[in-house]
Amino acid sequence: MACCVDGLDDTNEGRKPVTTTSAEPTRRDFLYIATASVGAVGVAAALVPLIAAMNPDASTIAAGAPIEVDLGPIAEGQVIKVFWRGKPIFVSHRTKKEIEEARSVNLASLPDPQPDDKRVKEGKPQWQVLIGICTHLGCIPIAHSGQYNGYFCPCHGSVYDTSGRIRSGPAPTNLPLPPYEFVSDSKIRIG
């Protein structure tokens, strides 16, 4: 045993490795497993920075800081577009009629049922803030258009209502709401 722990039989002229079939684990088995484990940990550790470096960098995140929007100049019936984190944000000053339309819908008939009052801030049904990105494949829908006079996405024909809820077309979900709050009656902070 003492002569052959390394798996090489000294009498083997051609120095062919002799496969050890004994059930006893050898020193080589240990080395294999130890090396493979350390190697696997190393590969995993190397993947972390490689993958993380592709995520948004500090400057991109910093540029994604909250923004404030003055609601004063937005006339009733108008939808403006501002940018936050490179995403278009719709700020809609809805008319009475638009609010009514959004509230009188039979929720059960919606693909992604959500009542309108859950999509605006309490007591401010006239102000609606939406991320203006079609939930299908990311185009910007056009305001005041489509069958429900809400939003219409020209790319593959998704139709949203005046609450930004999906009504027909390939988009799976309603237009999402960005995080925002009212800092005063006529000013919101998005982000």
Binding site: T60, F83, T135, G157, P170
Partner: protein, 422 residues
């Protein structure tokens, strides 16, 4: 199949070299002495054309990079700078952008050739799958390249395509943010797309080497679909295949040059001459023409996740073709039913391509749905069934016999179809 090399080094240096790195012998046995079936037609010249185009894309691309700036604020202007200021910049760019289109023309012909003559069947499955992977890489490279000029179509094409990944349940959004390197398509996206657009062509080169290696192990198929049986059935690659490939490559280049010099923007989209504007989506987004059939499949399905799955499936299914086609006879020349379904399939693909360019509404969507169903049925229903019900024509005994019989009335005295033995 590749036989053994008959290469005899001519001078002392080549003899010295051959004993150390037998590369000349390898080239000789692969591209000079290599036996190719004697009945190859011009549809077999597209492999060479593809290799040529790959080289051309790399050469024009490397010089474009010397003048191109991969930055969201500068990319568009740097491409205009290439067009106006750089010596022959217009030519390099038009060669590169039309070269990509020609690349796809060639690959589509090459793939349909393989389908018609059953080139994916045993023992060429791995060769075929390598081809499908090459095609996927080409699609990725072309897509990444199309974003580089940072025009409206670049930007919105990139947005729509990267959003495919948002269809993945649960992690979709994080994956897309990771792909973008931001919260929307922006400068970090452009820079990584540039990096990958430079990288992938060289990955393609590596896979082409594997593809040709696999080809030279199993040998080329031919219009009869039966294997060469004797030396009479083959001719040496050089000069026979070399000159045929070169001749047709020149004919192909005439068409290519026609596009480059007379209609360089015909295959592109005018909107891409408008600088990228994240605030406005063009009213009618279309991808490059070579993706249109798949775009039609995506839009035919009214569900986001299923649309993306169908699009992916329509490409992945190609890799399973060797097992979906149950017929033992390779060439459509001896498969009267398959031949008709093959041409229907070609028409369906063209039809999907045409629909992909149309707005997604009304009758167009209905037509796209019907053709999408047919597309999948071709692979999943028609091909497996044909192998069972089709009565194939008798195969010739050998390639040389098939040539000698040419011009004689069809369906003469031949043996019943047999699986060729290797």
């Amino acid at each position: 199949m590749s036989g053994h090399s008959t290469y005899q080094p001519q001078n002392a240096f080549m003899k010295w070299m051959e004993r150390r790195l037998p590369i000349a012998g390898l080239i000789h046995s692969s591209f000079v002495a290599y036996p190719t079936p004697r009945n190859l037609n011009y549809w077999w010249t597209f492999g060479g054309i593809l290799t040529f185009l790959l080289g051309m894309q790399i050469v024009t691309g490397i010089i474009l990079v010397m003048h191109y700036t991969p930055h969201a604020d500068m990319a568009f202007n740097s491409v205009e700078h290439i067009m106006r200021d750089v010596n022959y910049g217009w030519l390099l760019r038009y060669l590169h952008s039309n070269g990509a289109s020609m690349f796809f023309v060639a690959v589509y012909i090459h793939m349909f050739r393989g389908m018609y003559y059953g080139s994916y069947k045993e023992p060429r499955e791995v060769l075929w799958i390598l081809g499908v992977i090459l095609y996927l890489l080409m699609m990725a490279t072309g897509f990444l390249g199309y974003t580089l000029p940072w025009g409206q179509m670049s930007f919105w094409g990139a947005t729509v395509i990267t959003n495919f990944f948002s269809a993945i349940p649960v992690v979709g959004e994080s994956v897309v943010t990771w792909l973008w390197g931001g919260y929307s398509v922006g400068n970090p996206t452009l820079q990584r797309f540039f990096s990958l657009h430079y990288l992938l062509p060289f990955v393609i080169v590596g896979l082409v080497v594997l593809h040709v290696w696999a080809l030279h192990v199993v040998g080329q198929n031919n219009p009869t679909g039966i294997e060469p049986k004797s030396a009479k059935d083959t001719v040496p690659f050089t000069p026979y295949a070399t000159v045929k490939d070169a001749f047709f490559m020149m004919c192909f280049c005439v068409v290519f040059a026609w596009f480059v010099f007379y209609m360089p923007n015909y295959l592109g989209h005018a909107d891409n001459y408008i600088p990228a504007n994240p605030a406005v989506t063009p009213l009618h987004i279309v991808p490059e023409w070579y993706y249109l059939p798949f775009y039609a499949i995506l839009r035919a399905i009214p569900n986001k996740l299923m649309g993306v799955v169908a699009l992916g499936g329509s490409i992945v299914i190609l890799a399973f073709l060797p097992w979906l086609d149950t017929s033992k006879v390779r060439s459509a020349n001896y498969r009267p039913l398959f031949r008709q379904f093959f041409w229907i399939f070609v028409l369906v693909c063209l039809g999907l391509g045409w629909l992909g360019a149309k707005p997604a509404e009304g009758g167009y969507v209905i037509a796209a749905r019907i053709l999408t169903i047919y597309y999948f049925a071709h692979f999943i229903i028609i091909l497996p069934l044909l192998g069972w019900i089709e009565k194939t024509k008798p195969l010739p005994n050998s390639i040389s016999e098939s040539i000698l019989k040419e011009g004689l009335p069809a369906g003469g005295s031949g043996p019943a179809p047999t699986v060729s033995k290797h």
